[in-house]
């Protein structure tokens, strides 16, 4: 014990004696440990940690299986059938998003919430902290208007008032009774931003009528397996139900369950979308940590070489080699511990940055924090790093001939460690190349994506969503009047050159399709396309080009012949080689209703990217807001401006509130931002890879510099001798640069194969660029080569300036 204390005390003294070395090593380790810990804190709750529910492994997501195997939301009546018939599920629930607006306060405020079936919380295994849960009797058609609040909303809006239960709150102009408050720790992974819940209250009796919301595919379904039931058994059970329909549960064609039900654990479902990206990021940060370790090992090796005399002396005084090794390991562990302490600080900053940068697709963002598990992880990697970075220098000291410290003259340079250090630098360069190639491939992918024409001009366009609420807007005509008046007010704002409303906004996350029935083939009801109910001027505001016919205008109003504009792809696919103008269709709720008039295609416009720049789903139709079956109460406003679009937001808000100050305005963003955010996941991964690649590049360059610098110092006499023998400064420069570039070259060769293998893990994130894209690889090699040259330059210049007298001064 005494020996250990002595070792620690001596290690501390050693670090104090060489503050430059200590600071460099601690900073490198802190960055490595901190970065890895931060990324682990983001990945752990999504991929590794069980979800924060009792027996979370039993919670499953149940999707309707699409023809192509895709996961499609369920219908309400499918939910009812599964709830009644399933023997493998303990409870089952459905949910849909709900964005009620709280009125009666100073400013209207819209919340994210969920409409849920009665068993939702029981399925998750949670219950309100105060008040009660929803009961089956609450979840009935025209049932009581009741809500459960999140702890955050309760604290923020109601000051944590303990008498909240039973109080009335006004949502969308309706009074709701608060019946419960969820616990503070409740983590709603299925809708993290939801703060208010209300029963779904769909009509169970409305099963025979197909054109109802109860038969719409818009509900997400979650279930809890019975105790002892495996996932395979549940799948068998659900498959059997799907393939044995009963007369009491009639199914329309689009909800026939002929492809069965897709059942996945909630844990897998939550993480599945982002898993490849997160694993790639985890791999990347581990590589950065590896480079950091290699760098510090190199520093320790260099220091070990300088301390050879000290070790010789200790050995001469009778220190056993094991004791010397223990001393070195103590020093490296101490360094790692200090790096770990600062690493926790770096991790904290990194976690904040991760949360701020996280794309909307990233689940469980609220769970990204420095908790016990993350702290334990940091502790473990710190200890491991301490051992790993100390082991090589310690083994070197163990293997070294300690008499060498006294030897000089023409003995071979005491450079076994130089070979190790060079090998380590080669590995650093190789790892840096892997990271830089990955970052380069992602960058090229994003460049390719952003080079894609979205189908509209995103510059100088401000967007926002306006949500009507209140019973005064129950009638379509009143609703339409509000939007018309709001639009007129917006158009009066100085700097606005065009403005219009649309039911869904491209690249905003909106995705709404409706069926289309063609007069030429009225029995085919399988066609669906994106539906845009737009006000006149929408195409002009978005600058979506008109290709044929005409745009929708002020004449397309209720009572006038219904006009429809098709997207180019849709028109070409449905009317190949024909003129689509004048062709007639029934759209949305009018399908199958012979009494409803046909709508005529009056124009064809360019395709627009709706879901993502990478996806080319372009079948779309546009109809005038006033000619659709209803007036949407939530519409997006697009405003083209002459100057800075974002700067006009306050004036636009004011203009809308001049019509009715009780209407919520949310999702305010420029179209440029939406464009960038639409590739949020790729952008997020790119930012991380760029940061890691840059760190790797700097560390690799530092490694090259360190090794060359150490080598030049150790070889001062040799360099002086070479100069004395006639080597010119250029010869000496070439000698050192050749040494550095040889390490880089070897690293590049090894790194190339590593990059080719590693790029497999990025395939899902790449777009329009091969994982072996030669341009990227060559570019990265050029960057690495350039940076390596810079890293070589300083020691090379120092070497070239070695006074040849040095060679004689040793005499």
């Amino acid at each position: 014990m005494n020996g250990l204390v002595q070792d620690v005390r001596y290690a501390l003294r050693q670090l104090r004696k060489t503050p430059g070395f200590a600071c460099t090593a601690i900073v490198i380790l802190a960055l490595g440990i901190g970065g890895t810990t931060a990324i682990f804190s983001a990945i752990n709750p999504i991929l590794f940690e069980p979800l924060p529910y009792p027996q979370a492994r039993r919670i499953v997501m149940l999707w309707y299986a699409g023809d192509d195997g895709s996961r499609i939301p369920q219908t309400f009546h499918t939910f009812r059938e599964l709830e009644e018939r399933s023997r493998s599920l303990d409870t089952i629930a459905v949910m849909k998003p709900w964005q009620p607006t709280l009125t009666g306060a100073d400013q209207p405020e819209r919340f994210d919430g969920q409409r849920i079936s009665a068993n939702y919380f029981r399925t998750l295994g949670v219950s309100p902290a105060w008040g009660r849960d929803f009961q089956a009797s609450d979840d009935v058609y025209h049932g009581p208007k009741i809500v459960i609040l999140s702890n955050g909303l309760w604290q923020r809006h109601f000051g944590g008032d303990s008498s909240i239960i039973g109080r009335q709150v006004k949502l969308d102009d309706d009074s709701y009774t608060v019946i419960g408050v969820m616990p503070r720790a409740f983590d709603n992974v299925l809708s993290p931003s939801a703060e208010v819940w209300s029963p779904l209250q769909y009509d169970k009796g409305n099963i025979s009528s197909a054109q109802t919301k109860e038969w719409g595919h818009h509900l997400r379904m979650v279930g809890r397996l019975r105790a002892g039931i495996s996932m395979a058994q549940a799948r068998n059970d659900l498959g059997w139900i799907a393939h044995t329909p009963l007369p009491e549960f009639p199914r329309p064609a689009w909800a026939s369950l002929d492809r069965g039900v897709i059942a996945n654990s909630l844990q897998d479902d939550v993480g599945s979308g982002v898993k490849p990206a997160l694993l790639a990021v985890l791999g990347a940060v581990i590589l950065v940590l590896l480079i950091a370790c290699v760098n510090v090992t190199n520093l320790l090796l260099a220091r070990g070489a300088q301390r050879l005399g000290e070790f010789s002396m200790r050995a001469a005084l009778g220190a056993p080699r094991a004791r010397l090794v223990r001393q070195l390991l103590t020093e490296s562990l101490l360094l790692a511990m200090l790096g770990g302490v600062f690493g926790i600080v770096v991790a904290q900053v990194g976690i904040r940055a991760l949360v701020a940068l996280s794309p909307p697709e990233l689940p469980r963002v609220n769970a990204i924090r420095l908790d016990g598990t993350v702290f334990a992880f940091a502790l473990v990697i710190t200890a491991l790093i301490g051992l790993v970075v100390g082991l090589i220098p310690a083994l070197h000291a163990f293997r070294s001939d300690l008499h060498i410290g006294a030897q000089q003259s023409s003995g071979r340079t005491p450079g076994g460690h130089q070979l190790t250090r060079r090998t380590l630098v080669v590995s650093e360069v190789a790892i840096a190349l892997v990271l830089l190639v990955s970052a380069g491939l992602l960058l090229r992918s994003l460049q390719r994506l952003f080079a894609i024409d979205p189908g509209f001009d995103a510059s100088h366009v401000l967007t926002m969503q306006v949500q009507e609420s209140g019973h005064q807007y129950d009638a379509d005509s009143v609703r339409a009047r509000f939007f018309t008046q709001a639009l007129e007010a917006v158009r009066q704002v100085s700097g606005v050159t065009a403005a219009a409303f649309t039911s869904q906004l491209p690249l905003s996350g909106d995705f709404e399709t409706y069926g289309v029935q063609f007069e030429l083939d009225p029995n085919d009801n399988s066609e669906a396309a994106l539906r845009y109910a737009v006000s006149p001027g929408y195409f002009e505001a978005m600058r979506i080009p008109l290709l044929r016919g005409r745009l929708l205008d002020e004449h397309d109003v209720t009572g006038a012949p219904q006009a429809v504009v098709f997207s180019e792809s849709f028109a070409k696919r449905k009317f190949p080689g024909q003129d689509p103008l004048g062709k007639r269709v029934r759209i949305g709720p009018d399908i199958g209703h012979a009494d409803r008039p046909w709508a005529a295609i009056v124009g064809v416009v360019g395709d627009v990217k709706q879901a993502s720049l990478a996806l080319s789903q372009s079948d779309a139709f546009y109809t005038a807001t006033t000619q659709w079956s209803w007036v949407d109460n939530v519409q997006s406003l697009v405003i083209r401006t002459s100057g800075d679009a974002a700067a006009l937001a306050p004036a636009i808000r004011k203009a809308i509130w001049s019509v009715d100050r009780n209407q919520a305005i949310v999702r305010v963003a420029t179209m440029d931002n939406l464009l960038v955010n639409s590739e949020g996941e790729r952008h997020f991964v790119l930012i991380l890879f760029e940061a890691f690649g840059l760190a790797a590049l700097v560390l690799a360059a530092t490694g090259i510099y360190g090794v060359l610098s150490g080598s030049v110092t150790e070889r001062t006499r040799e360099i002086g001798l070479r100069t004395a023998l006639g080597a010119t400064p250029v010869d000496i420069l070439a000698l050192v640069v050749r040494q550095g570039m040889t390490m880089t070259g070897l690293g590049v060769v090894i790194g190339l194969s590593g990059a080719a293998i590693a790029s497999h893990s990025l395939i899902t994130l790449l777009f329009g660029v091969s994982r072996l894209d030669p341009f990227t690889y060559l570019g990265v090699i050029a960057v690495l080569g350039f940076v390596s040259m810079i890293a070589c330059a300083v020691p090379a210049r120092r070497a070239a300036k070695v006074d040849p007298m040095v060679a004689l001064r040793y005499e």
Binding site: G415, T728, E811
Partner: protein
């Protein structure tokens, strides 16, 4: 090559002053020295008399503060670094006290090293020169050995071969026996003697009078000045008194 009668090395009124902080140290003062082609000169004197400094200036490793220095009839005291490197490489062969072989290079590579700094010297020519030099010093059988595998005497022979490989105008030897035992020291001195007999010009720094006697001429230095042998003895006696 020098013209007949013209000295290979001509030094006139050479001074060297080292400045450390505010202290001026006159290492050499008004040194005049002339070494003819084929001559074997020993420079001796007490420690700190300036003999190694003078050798460094002769070897173009250092520059004089004042004075003139011509090598092979060419003024060299104000040449730039690259030109001095070239002249060192082609005209001067160094032999150091501690051999200064590069430990990571083999005997062959060590001898070849100065030749690699010569532009456009084909590899076969280099090989021929290296083997000739090694044969002259009797080390041709050790080409693949590393310096650490040789005795001190053998290492110094290799160092002599390295100095000879470039066929220099002059060999500069700084205490070439300083790190050797007497037997090996004698052997190296004999080697230098033989080289001189074959026509080499040698300038050797030594503090050992036994080895200085091997030279044709002795140059005595005291306090940075060239002095006659008698005067040196007197000065030394004064110092000891």
């Amino acid at each position: 090559m020098t013209e007949a009668g013209q000295p290979l090395i001509q030094i006139q009124d050479l001074t060297k002053v080292f400045y450390t902080d505010e202290i001026e140290t006159h290492a050499l003062s008004g040194v005049h020295l002339s070494i003819a082609k084929g001559e074997y000169v020993a420079m001796s004197g007490p420690s700190g008399c300036g003999k190694s400094t003078l050798l460094s200036i002769i070897g173009l490793l250092d520059t004089p503060t004042e004075g003139k220095y011509s090598l092979n009839g060419k003024t060299v005291e104000n040449l730039d670094f690259a030109e001095r490197s070239r002249i060192r490489n082609q005209e001067i062969g160094f032999i150091f006290q501690s051999f200064n072989l590069i430990g990571d290079l083999t005997v062959y590579e060590n001898v070849e090293l100065p030749l690699t700094y010569r532009q456009r010297m084909p590899a076969p020519d280099r090989k021929k020169r290296v083997m000739e030099a090694l044969e002259r010093v009797g080390m041709a059988h050790r080409v693949r050995h590393y310096p650490s595998q040789l005795s001190g005497g053998q290492q110094q022979r290799v160092a002599v071969a390295r100095a000879l490989g470039g066929k220099p105008s002059i060999l500069l030897a700084d205490e070439p026996t300083g790190n050797l035992d007497s037997r090996n020291g004698e052997a190296v001195m004999e080697l230098l003697q033989n080289l001189h007999r074959e026509g080499a010009t040698i300038c050797m720094v030594t503090h050992d009078p036994r080895f200085a006697k091997h030279a044709q001429r002795e140059v005595h230095l005291f306090d940075g000045k060239v002095v006659a042998e008698e005067e040196l003895k007197k000065l030394m006696a004064d110092v000891h008194a």
